[in-house]
Amino acid sequence: MSDFLPAEEFLSTNSSFVDGIQIAWDSTSLGAAKRCLRYYDFSIRQGLRRKSEALPLTFGILFHKGREIYDKLRAAGADHDNAQREMVKAILRQTWDRTAGAPILPKASDGVGDNNRNRETLIRALIWHTENFIDDPCQTLILEDGRPAVELSFRFDVSDFLLCGHLDKVVTFGETQWVQDYKTTTTTLSSQFFDKFSPDNQMSLYALAARVVFRTHAQGVMVDGIQSAVGFTRFARGFATRTDEFLSEWLADTRRHVETVKLASLSSHFPANDSACSIYGGCTFREICSKSPSVRKQFLTTHFEQRSWDPLVPR
């Protein structure tokens, strides 16, 4: 595996690890650890990511960025047209490769690109979303310090480790408060789509952070689903409610999971959970784990790249 750094060397530049032990956890790393310790070792400690996974991630990040720009401009007093134009301008610029003189996120052509997630469907999603929710009953919460509660980075100490992450937005909806989380997808926004967020590691962490760090009364997470298809973008919202009692249990479970990872890290033994290989739409490392251990590295270098995942790096 000559292209990849060994985990010890790779982790030496990751501020969320001390002596190979993770001390700052976000929903991605926690989710990886809860799912399968070998998956955690591959994806978080070694930072291995399938090369083709970059597209959905980039599309989602850019959607978030666009909404952040729109929401902050509206909170600062800009009208809808003004905020929408600045959002489109910024995202078109961020999706243009000046060196190549061509856009990133191309449409499908010659085996490259994607017809559901490309530059045009991204801009369409942002414009349609801001049109659809122009008279949104959900209003961005203004925090005690006067900031709009949009793209909030958080970290808090739970005695022996840190929990951290980013909230898209906290909103008021009638008399209630909710964390709002954008989820871009190419699948249908059915009840099955929303059911998967209760229980869900990420939503529980966000609900806890909204209460502990930002002192809101968030009742849970409002999942703002964005379905990007070839000819349209569709939206639907669902609720993932969390009670205090539920979150206490989640935190106790999380402590135990983190302790388990610490023991695995100290022994450098990350056992596979082979009951989880087929869930989550099929594990990205299933093909690797199905090989004999001595030949896995050569398969990894062909299809994967190494990129650090550091929960302490703010967005």
Binding site: L73, G77, V88, K89, L92, R119, E120, I123, R124, E131
Partner: protein, 73 residues
């Protein structure tokens, strides 16, 4: 679901999307927005839903409004 956007819209969008955004004017950014608003209204009608959002404006926004630089992002 197929939609039928106004004639010439796709060509106009293709041209704007293949241009370096640094070379686009505010008016052209507004054209892009208006084109996607029109596509949305067409799609909503094809779904049997009324277009609930406000009518697309044809005016270019006044230059005194807020920009990204005002946000200190």
């Amino acid at each position: 679901m197929t939609t039928s956007p106004p004639e010439g819209l796709e060509n106009s969008l293709d041209m704007l999307f293949s241009t370096d955004p640094e070379q686009l004017s505010d008016e052209q950014f507004t054209q892009i927005i208006l084109a996607f608003r029109a596509k949305r209204e067409t799609w909503l009608l094809s779904e049997g839903k009324p277009a609930k959002a406000k009518k697309a404006s044809t005016a270019v926004a006044a230059p005194t409004q807020l920009s990204l630089e005002d946000l200190n992002l």
